[in-house]
């Protein structure tokens, strides 16, 4: 994407009005449900260890020996609040990712993230659907496990298939064949299949919930005690857009530490720098972290669905090119 010298906004006044209305709708949705609004720091000492997320870094002259990270999501800070106060909370705020800019991506964007104490993953899925219905109207909801989705679209079991068989199955699609041939990481292949083969086939007029991702893609979700090959993680797709990602939250400090270390090993393997783990999150989980479910939803993408525009710039006052 090229930067532009144009001073004009990238969103129309009409869309800005819809943007303001959507802020209000969301705030009143959570007010009615007695979920507390919080605004945790955007600037923090720790970033994330996720293999595929990069923080933007900055420094403060007052702390010359410490780098500071713009948060990719308010997750860690919100979990520290959960551990301290045990109350359901939500946040509507800016987050930053050192990603490429594109039709669905702006490096700075608005995230709606919320945590519900005592909720199961399914309770939270139901609440996400309720919010989407109140914003987008009564769309049909389709729920599927990750495994069933792959069986339906590719006729494979993503949990048991070998890398070799997965490659062979995906080679038929010539748009990705070259990449499939040289890629031997199973999760990368599964993500490729999901993003480029399955997602475009999802019914755009429906809300699609995909849940129980492979344990290797658990991120910060608990594993399913009934089937530890999968994690209690879900994703929400509407209109061909990946809209939200949620978990039955991992509350076990030891497990969390293991995930941090595992992430950093992967980062090393992929030739990325290791990231210090946020020990304060570990300490928080070690205190009285309540059982809870949480989800992060891309506010700007939701607004794209509300307004029907095809480029995220059209819902931002100023996209990155003219920021």
């Amino acid at each position: 994407m090229q930067l532009t010298d144009d001073w004009q906004p990238s969103a129309s006044l009409d869309v800005l009005q819809q943007r303001a209305a959507l802020f209000q709708t969301i705030r009143s949705f959570f007010q009615h449900r007695c979920v507390l609004e919080v605004d945790t720091p955007i600037l923090g000492r720790f970033g994330v260890t996720d293999l595929h997320l990069e923080n933007l870094e900055t420094s403060l002259s007052h702390f010359p020996h410490q780098r500071f990270q713009l948060q990719t999501s308010p997750e860690y800070a919100m979990k520290r609040l959960l551990a301290a106060h045990g109350q359901s909370i939500y946040q509507l705020g800016k987050v930053f990712r050192d990603d490429e800019a594109g039709r669905f991506h702006n490096p700075e964007f608005t995230m709606l993230e919320w945590y519900r104490v005592g909720f199961t993953m399914q309770d939270l899925i139901d609440e996400v659907v309720c919010l989407l219905h109140s914003v987008l109207g009564d769309l049909i909801v389709q729920q599927s496990t990750y495994q069933a989705l792959f069986e339906k679209h590719l006729n494979i079991d993503p949990l048991t298939i070998s890398v070799k068989d997965l490659q062979a199955r995906l080679m038929y699609d010539e748009r990705i064949a070259d990449l499939v041939e040289r890629e031997t990481d199973k999760d990368t292949l599964l993500q490729l299949a999901m993003a480029l083969v399955i997602e475009p086939q999802l019914d755009k007029s429906q809300i699609t919930i995909v849940h129980r991702f492979p344990a290797s893609q658990a991120a910060l979700a608990q594993l399913d005690v009934e089937n530890p090959r999968v994690a209690l993680r879900f994703e929400v797709y509407v209109g061909g857009i990946e809209l939200a990602n949620g978990y039955q939250e991992l509350t076990d400090a030891t497990q969390q530490q293991v995930r941090f270390e595992h992430d950093n090993r992967l980062r090393q393997q992929f030739g990325k720098s290791e990231k210090p783990a946020d020990f304060r999150l570990i300490d928080a989980l070690n205190s009285e972290m309540p059982e809870c479910a949480g989800v992060a939803l891309g506010f700007d993408r939701l607004l794209m669905l509300v307004t029907g525009v095809s480029d995220i710039r059209q819902v931002l006052p100023f996209g990155i090119a003219c920021a």
């Binding site: 991506h105 890629e183 990368t188 480029l196 893609q217 990946e242």
Partner: protein, 189 residues
């Protein structure tokens, strides 16, 4: 030739794929929230002309293609090669039938054409958007296809056949859009 990272991908960038120089037409990033990002790229293969889709992991590098476009004037055809000249350096270049392809029917002496060179060799010839050519043969009368489309076929001095209005006659010069192959107007000599 330099390598390009997927971060540098944009329309117009020339890269090597399947041993052939290619032009990027469209580049889109697909990034799952918690997963590997991919670049979905539409490319035109510059030798075969085929348009294909390719996918890269974001951050991967791809070999660049040494492809440049040059404006040269068309001189003549010696039966095997089409000869062009750089009007500033007077340097001459010869393109073979494969590079000239269908453009042969739009080549007019002295006209400025765009030659696409890969490693210094012509791989494609693009004629000017508009050329003026004489009609060497067309049906004289007003008979023929009057059913709706109007017009009649006319053979031009280069062998190209275009549809022209019924009133246009043999010996006249017409202006043709080479991109669509359509008649534009008559040209007063």
């Amino acid at each position: 030739m330099a390598n390009y990272s997927t971060n540098e991908f944009k329309a117009g960038l020339k890269i090597m794929q399947d041993g052939e120089p290619c032009n990027i037409i469209d580049n889109e990033v697909v990034k799952p929230g918690k997963g590997q990002a991919f670049n979905r790229v539409k490319i035109r293969k510059l030798i075969s002309g085929k348009v294909v889709e390719k996918t890269f992991k974001s951050g991967d590098s791809v070999e660049g293609a040494d492809v440049v476009d040059m404006e040269l004037s068309y001189l003549y055809n010696d039966g095997e090669f089409w000869h062009f000249m750089n009007n500033e350096s007077f340097e001459q270049l010869a393109a073979d039938a494969k590079a000239v392809g269908d453009s042969t029917k739009w080549l007019v002496e002295q006209d400025t054409c765009t030659l696409t060179l890969w490693n210094g060799n012509p791989i494609a010839v693009t004629p000017p958007n508009f050329v003026e050519l004489e009609i060497v043969e067309t049906d004289p009368g007003l008979k023929g296809d009057t059913a709706g489309t109007g017009g009649k076929p006319a053979t031009l001095s280069t062998g190209a056949v275009v549809r022209v209005p019924l009133f246009v006659q043999t010996g006249e010069v017409v202006k043709v859009d080479t991109r669509s192959g359509e008649y534009v107007s008559r040209v007063q000599k």
